[in-house]
């Protein structure tokens, strides 16, 4: 395996000042999960997976986050904290740092994701693809608790179990190859998600990889409460895993 440091870019979208009182004082990525924080957990897991070069974009309290985390060395990474110029998290951000990202594929992460998934699995898969875009996807099953009644006029003709509705959502983790960036230099597409929407719209091939491990999108304060419980469970609970959060 190559000794080159693998790069990751995290784009975080904070509630900003519109969050609830205390969560607006403290950036979302530094809200507590036990004695740690979402961002510290992400950095540690990235480092373990060999991503030692991390660029973190935020739209909120950039200076504070930068001071709080320092150089990143305590987490095993070289960290650069940046402010999103336009605060939209647009794909153009990635294009703007194309020079820094260099030739190798890089990992793109949504700052809201708490997961036990091994980033390296996605990365290896993405590197092996011809397509410059690979998106982690998450299978979501919505099951109905009600039986499905088939009617014909006034008659019930059958009663059937309702099928589960299976859909796939974006898991907030991507592998991008540098050549993917060029076409987005002027993109208005918001976040990495819009980046892919634009790519599929242009008929470009986009690969998917299923994220089949613990995964949570901490997009709202209610999700944060769930994240706090899950973190307690995986980091200290009976089910503590060797690769715990």
């Amino acid at each position: 395996m190559s000794k080159k440091p693998k790069k990751a870019v995290i784009i975080s979208k904070d509630f900003g000042a519109s969050g609830r009182p205390l969560t607006s004082a403290i950036p979302k990525s530094l809200l507590p999960l036990g004695t740690s924080t979402l961002l510290e957990i992400q950095l540690t897991r990235l480092s373990k997976a060999g991503f030692n070069d991390v660029i973190y974009f935020t739209n909120y309290k950039k200076d504070y986050i930068e001071r709080f985390l320092g150089s990143g060395s305590d987490y095993g990474v070289r960290l650069s904290v940046r402010k999103e110029a336009d605060e939209t998290g647009s794909a153009a951000i990635l294009a703007s740092i194309a020079d820094e990202l260099g030739e190798a594929p890089f990992l793109g992460l949504n700052g809201d994701i708490l997961t036990l998934f091994d980033y390296n699995k996605l990365y290896k898969y993405g590197c092996a693809q011809e397509s410059p875009f690979t998106a982690g996807v998450r299978r979501v099953v919505a099951s109905s608790t009600f039986a499905n009644v088939v009617i014909d006029g006034d008659n019930i003709t059958a009663i059937m179990a309702s099928p589960d509705r299976v859909s796939y959502i974006l898991a907030g983790m991507y592998v991008f190859k540098p050549e993917a960036l060029a076409s987005f230099a002027t993109s208005e597409a918001p976040l990495m998600e819009g980046f892919l929407r634009e790519a599929t719209g242009k008929g470009q091939a986009v690969r998917k990889f299923e994220v089949d491990d613990y995964w949570l999108d901490v997009g709202s304060i209610d999700d944060l409460e769930k994240a706090q419980m899950d973190y307690a469970y995986y980091s200290t609970g009976a089910d503590r895993r060797s690769d715990a959060l």
């Binding site: 205390l22 507590p32 036990g34 001071r67 709080f68």
Partner: protein
């Protein structure tokens, strides 16, 4: 500013657990909680430096590593920062026992959770001019009383006071101490500023007060920390803070 002024020393008590601000303080030690985009401690340090305190000691315990990493050696703030880490919590006066050799001139002590616009150099100058080894910053606390207060003698009303305020004075968490008070602090023992004041009075050492009339806030409670956010603009205005 003279060279002598630049060597003024201050100690910021930064070791608290911040238990009243759980769960936030489980991840971020209280002195590093943000007010606007700066940490409380950062605001204090910048203000101390502007008031002529060139050497600042941070008395730490809980999550000391985070504090050290956040603030570095002080060069960025134009001062010399030294972390004095307690191996066990020593209270609000106990940490000073670790700095006996450094604190050879009058020095300022400040709680790591206080935000104030008090003129620190004026307070320091006052303390130096007064004959007392301990000068306590105090802040008037006004508690409104929503009833008329009546005074009487026997069956006769002698006086009516319409809705008077209760006025008390609180220890403001900002003090100036002189080296001669240090022997009163025991080694390696949890010892509070309040205990130190009582001990000084027992020994008939004068303890002076300095009233803070300016903005003052203790962020230790959740509603006060929230209030600090609203006040943040004031701290940042024209480099005021």
């Amino acid at each position: 500013m003279t060279a002598a002024q630049m060597t003024q020393k201050a100690v910021i008590l930064s070791g608290g657990l911040g238990s009243r601000l759980q769960p936030f303080t489980a991840a971020i030690p209280k002195p590093l909680l943000p007010v606007g985009e700066k940490a409380v401690l950062e605001i204090q340090i910048e203000r101390l430096v502007r008031s002529g305190f060139g050497e600042i000691y941070l008395a730490t315990n809980y999550k000391s590593g985070y504090i050290e990493r956040f603030l570095g050696d002080g060069r960025e703030y134009g001062c010399k920062l030294t972390v004095s880490k307690e191996e066990k919590p020593l209270g609000t006066a106990g940490p000073l026992s670790l700095l006996r050799d450094e604190l050879t001139e009058p020095f300022l002590v400040m709680n790591g959770d206080v935000l104030s616009l008090v003129d620190l150099s004026e307070m320091y100058a006052f303390a130096c001019s007064v004959d007392a080894p301990f000068v306590a910053g105090i802040k008037k606390q006004i508690t409104p009383f929503s009833f008329g207060n009546i005074f009487f003698e026997g069956d006769y009303v002698t006086k009516v006071e319409e809705k008077p305020d209760f006025v008390t004075y609180a220890l403001a968490g900002i003090y100036v101490l002189k080296p001669e008070i240090l022997p009163l602090i025991p080694d390696d023992e949890c010892f509070g500023i309040d205990q130190l004041i009582l001990k000084a009075m027992e020994l008939e050492m004068p303890v002076a007060k300095y009233e803070i009339n300016e903005y003052w806030l203790d962020i230790g409670r959740e509603d006060d920390y929230r209030r600090a956010q609203g006040d943040a603009a004031m701290f940042y205005k024209d480099g005021e803070f």
